[in-house]
């Protein structure tokens, strides 16, 4: 049995060790680092089931909480990072092409190691219960992702993505700090629990609302909620594919965890509830409409997934805007986990297909049903789950979210949600059409899938189906 804090420390140490190993031990085949990272993170994942409750002094400080939600998202971050590294192994040759170096694999090593540091940041974030801590963890995540987005430094698209993400990330950080300052100024506290206690006593002032608003804007950037979503498509398309996946799943999930944590003390105040729920509903409506409508004309698969990630942020926000309901919190968690499964599954298929076909347009998937039936089946499952077909995790996520929204009588959200689900069917099935209706190109090269990817694809597909009929596997963690 170990202290929960040890998990993060282990991950950081793993990252430092791997960086050292990159310099001194591993000379030729850098993918050894990736396997090291996978094994190490898997080890931490196993360790996470043998943790003690946080030490009393740590728990009392209000900095670091190890509740069910926190532990769940620590494991979520570890899982997402492992999958990202698996993607990175397959994607490394593409990355290497855009990095000048004396040997073919020079400079690829860090590509496998940086996600480990991001993971540490995500795990801190899962437990952060104080604005200072939230800020530090968020920056650890964001800064390490800046580097990863711009990693292919000979690729203009990657550099553009990196610059965009840097500027807008910095902007959102500015909003966050400024918002925290206002909240601190009004309540005299940075700890979320303490803020909650103060809020019960003091009247709701404009300054406080301003501060909360700024924090919401900053988190809006992180979870890619409209109208703070405009960086998403370019960054997602330009970044190396594994980083795109990481960004769209782990970073978004962390944003939602922080949002849940920040909203918890705020929503306990009835006066704030009446102000916050309309704002959250508005965000949800805008995000749903923008993400789904803008996804319809897309022809690039990565960009499509970028818009789809905005759309899913919209459904999650519907859940956030219905937080009073019994199922809402569980629905969000379940939805996020389902989202992890189906998005990574899509990316796990995208990477080898893009590598073999030389691009990530939807037309590059033409005839995949005949070229590689297994991959096509996996992508079919992922698309169906993203669209929300029953017997997949994606459907149950939507079902729980809609149940919560109807319970809270958010009928506008529900109606818009249903209309946008129909849009979703259109653009996700576009990929299915390319795979099964269209003929493969004459000179289609063979698609090679590495062993770890293969295992990951099978595991994720199985999990999507299992959660699609047995959601208790996740729900029972949150009694």
């Amino acid at each position: 049995m170990i202290q929960p804090l040890a998990l993060e420390i282990c991950v950081v140490c793993l990252g430092i060790f791997l960086l050292m190993a990159d310099s001194f031990l591993v000379k030729t085949d850098k993918s050894a680092l990736a396997y090291g990272a996978i094994v190490g993170l898997a080890g931490v994942f196993v360790l996470s089931f043998y943790t003690l409750p946080a030490a009393p002094d740590l728990a009392l400080s209000g900095f670091y909480v190890t509740d069910t939600l926190g532990m769940f998202f620590k494991r979520f971050a570890l899982l997402a990072t492992i999958l990202t590294v698996i993607l990175a192994i397959d994607h490394a040759p593409v990355v290497a092409r855009f990095i000048p170096g004396s040997t073919p694999q020079a400079g690829v090593g860090e590509f496998f190691v940086l996600p480990v540091f991001t993971c540490a940041g995500l795990m801190w974030m899962a437990s952060a219960a104080d604005f200072i801590m939230i800020f530090c963890a968020l920056e650890l995540v964001t800064i390490s992702i800046y580097i990863q987005v711009a990693y292919m430094r000979r690729s203009v698209a990657s550099l553009e993505a990196g610059t965009k993400y840097l500027i807008l990330g910095a902007l959102s950080t500015g909003f966050l700090v400024y918002g925290i300052t206002w909240i601190f100024g009004m309540t005299g506290q940075t700890g979320l629990m303490q803020i909650g206690e103060v809020l019960q006593r003091i009247p709701i002032s404009t300054g406080l609302l301003f501060g909360i608003g700024l924090v919401l804007v900053a988190l809006g950037f992180k979870i890619a909620a409209a109208p703070f979503q405009f960086w998403v498509p370019d960054v997602y398309q330009g970044a190396p594919t594994p980083v795109t996946a990481y960004l769209s799943v782990a970073s978004k999930a962390a944003g939602f965890v922080v949002l849940l944590r920040v909203l918890e003390p705020l929503l306990a105040v009835p006066a704030l509830q009446a102000k916050l729920f309309p704002v959250l509903s508005l965000l949800a409506v805008l995000t749903l409409l923008y993400g789904n409508l803008a996804a319809i004309p897309q022809t690039n698969f990565k960009r499509l997934l970028g818009y789809s990630s905005i759309a899913h942020a919209g459904y999650l926000l519907v859940g956030v805007a219905s937080l009073g309901a019994f199922m809402a919190g569980r629905a969000i968690v379940f939805y996020l986990f389902g989202y992890l499964l189906m998005t990574f599954l899509a990316f796990l298929v995208l990477v080898p297909v893009a590598k073999a076909s030389g691009g990530d347009e939807i037309s590059h998937f033409n005839g995949l049903g005949r070229r590689s039936p297994g991959l096509a089946l996996a992508l079919l499952l992922s698309m169906l789950s993203l669209a929300g077909i029953p017997f997949t995790a994606g459907f149950l996520g939507k079902f729980f979210i809609f149940e919560a929204a109807m319970d809270q009588q958010n009928y506008v959200l529900v109606v818009i949600g249903v209309v946008t689900v129909a849009c979703g069917f259109y653009y996700y099935l576009k990929v299915v059409r390319a795979m099964y209706w269209q003929a493969p190109p004459e000179d289609a090269p063979e698609i090679v899938v590495s062993a770890p990817s293969r295992v990951a694809i099978i595991c994720l597909s199985a999990l999507i189906l299992i959660l699609g009929v047995y959601p208790q596997a996740i729900l029972r963690m949150f009694p």
Binding site: F391, M406, V414, V418, Y426
Partner: protein
């Protein structure tokens, strides 16, 4: 006791097509495996039908229940009463026929049969589910196979048809999902559930009130799935483009899900709401019968005509549902069965015809009865069954619907001041329109028969082979079942009526 052994035999019924699909994907002989799987299902349903009266003959039998999301009262509950058994018999019978008449395509034959098996598993699961959540989930299982079947192996403007149908149906199903969530939320807090039996009990105890918005959501959701006017536009095009087995399964069985749902859920649980909105529904269903009826007459191609006719016939079943008495509901349920068989036979024949001639345009066909007498005979039988002529089960169903619907509502006939006041209520007006609909369907069906099989024959069609082999057997069985149940409708009534209104 082993949890697997304590499962309902219905689980076996759902799993058989899935296993067949798995074998097909793994590379076994596609058509043979599909035929074997669907025949096993059919045989098994026959056994259940035989066993049902011995188990008491009323209520749900073959029961099993596994909790899935206890927080929301969702459990995987299987069970079948007379009505479900009739629908299960219809599903498995049509599946066997669809597989038997299927022509193995050159493109990905495994996928083709696997898709058919998935649809079959979906409809069987839906009709065998007592839990509304799984009832819904199983229906959706058929959505994607339909999309693939039309899109890959369809004919004509198949891509547009597949898109339109899929998006429309997806939208309809999500509206339906909201309706089911609504039905969950109007139950009194504390013992909310998705279990149909428990909800019905709550409704009988008068604990479900103020639920007309739930009924509207259910009506629109189910209405889109059943092609209720004006939500019907996806159907004719999809059926015209779909390969014959897909059209048979969809029009014959899958579409019945919506009406089955209304009869099963709305009629016993929300009768007040049904009566409240009866006028809206009556207007829409008369739209189905008269407007679509005339549109059907105007069709110049057999596949489109059949597509529209299947939309039109839904109007009668809606009428039976709207009147909400035991006679009309029995009639509606019988028509589900009757229409499923007759439209499946007609789509099978039109598929065979398309495979022989390459066209279904009335202007190009003619005089085919001379070269294909048996084909003409089968088509004649199927057309007469679809019109609802006496002797076929459709007649019994229509008659019950008309009798039931005419006595629906509050009678306006009265005697005041020594004068008889002759007035018709809206149910009676709708019934009269529906009776006129029978004439309309006779017009287009018989006209189709004349244009295709009578008259002068085009030289091109002189060497066409007649109906032989498996398709012939399948159609013989379909027509035989329609005749037997038509002459002895008591077979169905005994099963269906106890399952209806309490």
């Amino acid at each position: 006791m082993n949890p697997l052994l304590s499962q309902s035999p219905l689980l076996f019924l759902i799993v058989v097509p899935l296993i067949a699909a798995a074998f097909i994907m793994a590379g076994s002989n596609a058509k043979f495996t599909a035929l074997l799987g669907s025949s096993v299902s059919l045989l098994f349903v026959c056994i259940l039908l035989a066993a049902y009266p011995k188990l008491g003959g009323t209520g749900y039998q073959f029961w099993s229940s596994v909790p899935v999301v206890p927080q929301l009262g969702i459990s995987f509950t299987l069970g079948a009463d007379g009505l479900s058994l009739v629908m299960l018999a219809l599903s498995t019978l049509v599946t066997v026929a669809a597989v038997a008449v299927a022509r193995t395509p050159e493109k990905n034959p495994q996928w083709f049969y696997a898709c058919l098996m998935f649809i079959s598993a979906g409809v069987i699961g839906a009709f065998a589910s007592v839990d509304l959540f799984f009832f819904y989930m199983f229906h959706e299982l058929a959505l994607i196979p339909t999309f693939l079947l039309i899109g890959i192996w369809g004919s004509g403007d198949r891509q547009t048809a597949a898109w339109k149908a899929t998006i429309y149906l997806a939208l309809g199903s999500f509206v339906l999902m909201l309706g089911l969530i609504g039905l969950y939320l109007v139950q009194p807090e504390g013992n909310r559930t998705f279990d149909l039996v428990k909800i019905t009990r709550l409704a009988e105890a008068g604990l479900i009130t103020d639920a007309s918005w739930v009924y509207l959501l259910l009506l629109i959701g189910f209405g889109i799935l059943v092609s209720l006017f004006p939500f019907h536009t996806w159907a004719p095009q999809a059926y015209a483009s779909a390969p014959a087995p897909a059209a048979m399964l969809h029009a014959g069985v899958l579409k019945k899900f919506g009406l089955y749902g209304l009869i099963r859920i709305a009629a016993p649980i929300l009768p007040d709401a049904v009566r409240e909105f009866s006028n809206v529904l009556l207007i829409l269903l008369v739209g189905n019968i008269l407007y679509i009826g005339y549109v059907t007459i105007a069709q110049r191609k057999l596949d489109w005509m059949l597509g529209y006719s299947s939309v039109m016939h839904m109007g009668y079943i809606f009428l039976g549902f709207a009147a909400l008495n035991t006679v009309s509901l029995t009639g509606a349920s019988m028509m589900l069965f009757a229409h499923g068989l007759s439209i499946a036979a007609l789509f099978a024949l039109s598929g065979e015809l398309r495979a022989r001639t390459g066209t279904l345009d009335f202007a190009e066909l003619g005089g085919l009865a001379r070269t294909m007498p048996a084909f003409g005979l089968f088509f004649g039988f199927a057309a007469m069954a679809a019109i609802g002529l006496p002797g076929f089960v459709g007649f019994a169903g229509e008659l019950l619907v008309f009798f039931g619907a005419f006595s629906g509502g509050k009678s306006l006939m009265s005697v005041a001041g020594g004068h008889e006041i002759f007035a018709l209520n809206s149910y009676q007006i709708a019934t009269i329109c529906a009776v006129w609909g029978v004439v309309i369907s006779a017009v287009y069906m018989l006209r189709a028969y004349r244009k295709i099989f009578l008259g002068t024959q085009n030289e091109r069609w002189s060497g066409l082979p007649d109906l032989i082999g498996m398709p012939r057997i399948a159609l013989t069985v379909l027509i035989a079942v329609m005749l037997v149940t038509g002459f002895v409708p008591q077979l169905l009534v005994k099963l269906i009526t106890p399952a209806l209104l309490p």
